[in-house]
């Protein structure tokens, strides 16, 4: 399939960050819902300040090219693009590894609903860090994920999984009021967090008893500009009494409570130096996440430690 490429546009500063961002360049990022890409149609997407065009050929396969503003000559290297979990993932560089693992997607015990895309006017790391934070539950999600006066965050373990390199928070717990999705009276809910990639995180609510309801939520952020992002959520639960519509509405309600918070954090880029924002004892995961980003060389949407 022949794609039209606009080479007239002038060279802009946009996209320079991704080219030298070791944390994002060779990784996979969601850019679209798979069903949005119709056969024989073109779709424009944006990733890390650059524009791309995705096409689905008549054989169903996906391909992508840069919707080029650099106007270079010669054949353009097409970014890698694949389909996974009902989403289209793109890698602007040379894929260093596969798409992250979310086994609940194919687990017959779980029903999985896609929530989003949600445009958020802030950096990707701010969105992920908020997702990793339990302390805001009673204030931002009252009656759903927490409730005053039960605001205390108990201690938990933070570690890096030796095999995968994923950042993990284990033995997390928080008091949660009764909700419609997890049918229980108010009780302490146990969580695990996994950060497999700089802009992806998975929260798992552990069942209260063997055979109890389980929930796993994957949040992955499509970095559009350093301070503009699109959030995608895969909500997986063993609760089969709820319809996909109900589950999506529940997750959307929660995320729309987070949005005004995220869009009012200043600066929008996440500061990685520990001096820039005061950490509390409950922020051990947040601090570990900032270190993890620092170690991975992340630059897009952050204020690097060496930036002063």
């Amino acid at each position: 399939m022949q794609l039209e490429i606009d080479t007239k546009a002038t060279t802009g500063g946009q996209g320079d960050a991704i080219a030298c961002d070791p944390a994002l360049h060779d990784d996979w990022h969601v850019v679209a819902r798979a069903e949005e890409c119709a056969q024989g149609a073109l779709m424009r997407v944006r990733l890390c300040g650059r524009r791309y065009v995705i096409a689905r050929g008549h054989d169903g396969s996906l391909s992508a090219v840069a919707d080029n503003h650099e106007g270079g000559s010669g054949p353009l290297p097409g970014p890698a693009v694949i389909e996974a979990y009902g989403l289209v993932w793109m890698c602007p560089g040379i894929p260093a590894r596969g798409v992250l693992s979310f086994p609940q997607f194919t687990d017959p015990q779980f029903q999985v609903v896609l929530c989003g895309p949600y445009g958020i006017a802030t950096s990707g790391p701010r969105i992920i860090e908020n997702f990793l934070d339990m302390a805001h539950f009673p204030f931002i999600h009252p009656g759903i994920l927490g409730q005053e006066p039960d605001t205390a965050v108990a201690g938990y373990k933070v570690e890096v999984d030796a095999a995968s390199g994923d950042l993990m928070a284990l033995d997390c717990s928080f008091w949660q009021p009764p909700t419609s999705v997890l049918t229980h009276g108010g009780s302490v809910v146990h969580y695990e967090y996994r950060v497999p990639r700089p802009l992806s995180a998975i929260l798992t609510k552990l069942p209260e008893a063997p055979g109890g309801l389980g929930v796993s939520i994957l949040l992955t952020v499509q970095p559009v500009e350093p301070e503009r992002s699109v959030a995608w959520i895969l909500f997986a639960t063993t609760n089969r009494q709820k319809t996909p519509l109900e589950l999506r509405a529940h997750q959307e309600r929660i995320f729309m409570q987070d949005k005004p918070i995220l869009e009012n954090q200043q600066p929008r880029r996440l500061p990685l130096s520990p001096k820039d924002e005061m950490a509390l004892p409950c922020d051990r995961l947040s601090m570990a996440y900032r270190r993890y980003l620092s170690d991975s060389g992340m630059r897009f949407g952050v204020i690097a430690r060496d930036a002063g």
């Binding site: 965050v153 929008r268 924002e277 950490a279 004892p281």
Partner: protein, 263 residues
Amino acid sequence: MRTSWTSRFHPVARSADLVDGHIYHGRLLGQELAVWRDGEGRPNAWENRCPHRGMRLTVGMHLGSGVRCLYHGLRYASGSGRCTAIPSLGDRELPRQLNICVKTFAVREKYGLVWASLAESASEPVIAALDGVQHTTLRSVVIGVAAENVMDALANSHHHGTVVPAEAGTRRLSFASSTNDKTIILIVQPADLQKSIVHSVAIGEFASDDSTTRSHRRGLVSDHNARLCALRDALESTSIAPRATSSVLSSSAQARELLQTPT
């Protein structure tokens, strides 16, 4: 050489903007401010940013004696800006090495305006013409150009009277009206690199409430406002579009630096 803009008090709100229970979103030299009056009437001018996770305090909760951050419920006391409650700790003590405090700025309330200074020491805001006389704060007008340009334009404008420099950062506008001579003091707030706010304080017996005075006042106020708006339109039509600011931290530092540069 102009004196530095940073080591001075500038207006950041009108007194009337600080209504009960409200946290006003202000800006001075690129610095975003949370300006609010506590239950006892004392004004505060704080960095608009919770030191914990950067949340704007203007969207927080006004508690009378302090402000509660919306995000994690941290509380900060009026005056000192010191953190007084951290709900995520539960019953645990705050670790001693944690000394959490909002960044506070020097603040004054005078002439119907709330003034703040980004520098730790700044000379008090004094406008001799307004001391000891009755005065009224009029509507403030936002102009999308640098404060320097507004000051210059005011000095050269054929406003409806004589404009002369008053105290630093101010212009004194004197003119004759149909009933008597009027003086309005114009004070330019350097909000950002490309954003100024012109505050107007009129001298005179505005409090008088007979109908002649009222209608005269309305005429004066609307005339003054129309002329300031015309000045705004003229200035904005000749200025280049303000460039988007990247981050608060860099833009405020940059704004201060540029505004300090003598022209």
